[in-house]
């Protein structure tokens, strides 16, 4: 019986980690739908990973039947917003892109927290 006090907290912690990842996947899916219907064969996710990182992931099958994927990360730094795509280089985003991203985050704010609120009432 001595293992129970050790095992239970670890199980709770693991449950929270699993739930956290699952909620993130749910949020990513909801975020991916902010920009309109997703074309058939596409998978689009847009979500806030942490305070400094927003992620946009898109997958699709090209004309040759090959699966393609692009992951774009926006890094929120005190001195500005930087972007990386696959490679390890960081680039400062343009004015137009900043404007678009701002709109996306505003939409995100309108949709995602209320969706999480509803989720919270049911778990």
């Amino acid at each position: 019986m001595n293992f129970l006090p050790k095992l239970s907290p670890r199980n709770d912690q693991q449950r929270e980690i699993d739930a956290h990842n699952e909620v993130l996947r749910y949020v990513a899916k909801v975020g991916g739908q902010l920009f309109g219907p997703i074309p058939k064969g596409h998978r689009r996710e847009f979500f806030n990973l942490d305070k400094h990182t927003w992620v946009w992931h898109e997958e699709w099958v090209d004309n040759h039947g090959q699966r393609q994927a692009v992951m774009t990360q926006y890094h929120i730094r005190p001195d500005g917003i930087l972007k990386s795509q696959g490679d390890q280089t960081y680039r400062r985003i343009s004015h137009a892109e900043l404007h678009n991203l701002y709109q996306a985050v505003e939409l995100y704010e309108e949709v995602v927290p209320p969706a999480l609120d509803r989720l919270l009432q049911r778990v």
Partner: protein, 181 residues
């Protein structure tokens, strides 16, 4: 900004209690709200910086020459010295001052005073520029967000973020919480 989300107060005022799943959801709500606020603050600042670089004429105050300690600008300082020189010259013409005294100031070229003041202003500008982190030294400008996204021609997605439209989930997908995704 319309429909700004107002978080439930108990997310912040009470310790997190509940099942691990509830705690996970509350944690992500809190993180989301905090991240959005941080993004908005940073984006607003970056937006002003970009606007200023593109349209410096819209930021007359931010581009105004640095003021010296006595609150006199470079051009005003130059004018101040010109006036002083003129006053002294007039005083000498009236024999009101000793020729060996302050009249020597009249021999200091106005341009030299202005150059010194300008150099001081530039030095102040340089020290006011925050240093770039070394890891971001090679930052290059990039095309707008919608362009780098490679899309197949046949099934091209709507230009992402170009005209974002709210999409109502159809409830066809479910996650393990039993809720529509």
């Amino acid at each position: 900004m319309s429909n700004t989300y107002q978080p439930q107060p108990d997310y912040y005022s009470l310790p997190r209690t509940g099942s691990p799943e509830q705690i996970a959801v509350m944690s992500i709500i809190e993180q989301t709200i905090s991240s959005i606020a941080y993004f908005r603050e940073t984006a607003s600042r970056a937006d002003a910086d970009i606007e200023e670089a593109l349209h410096p004429e819209r930021f007359p105050l931010r581009n105004r020459p640095v003021q010296l300690e006595n609150s006199v600008g470079v051009s005003e300082l130059t004018q101040h010295h010109s006036d002083l020189i003129n006053d002294l010259a007039e005083a000498r013409a009236r024999n009101e001052l000793d020729a060996a005294g302050p009249l020597q100031m009249a021999h200091v070229p106005v341009e030299q005073l202005a150059a010194a003041a300008t150099q001081e202003a530039h030095q102040t500008f340089e020290t006011a520029v925050p240093p770039q982190p070394a890891q971001f030294a090679a930052v290059q400008p990039l095309a707008p967000m919608e362009q780098p996204q490679p899309q197949p021609q046949a099934e091209r997605a709507p230009a992402p973020l170009e005209q974002p439209t709210f999409f109502v989930p159809d409830g066809s997908n479910h996650n393990n919480f039993g809720l529509a995704a």
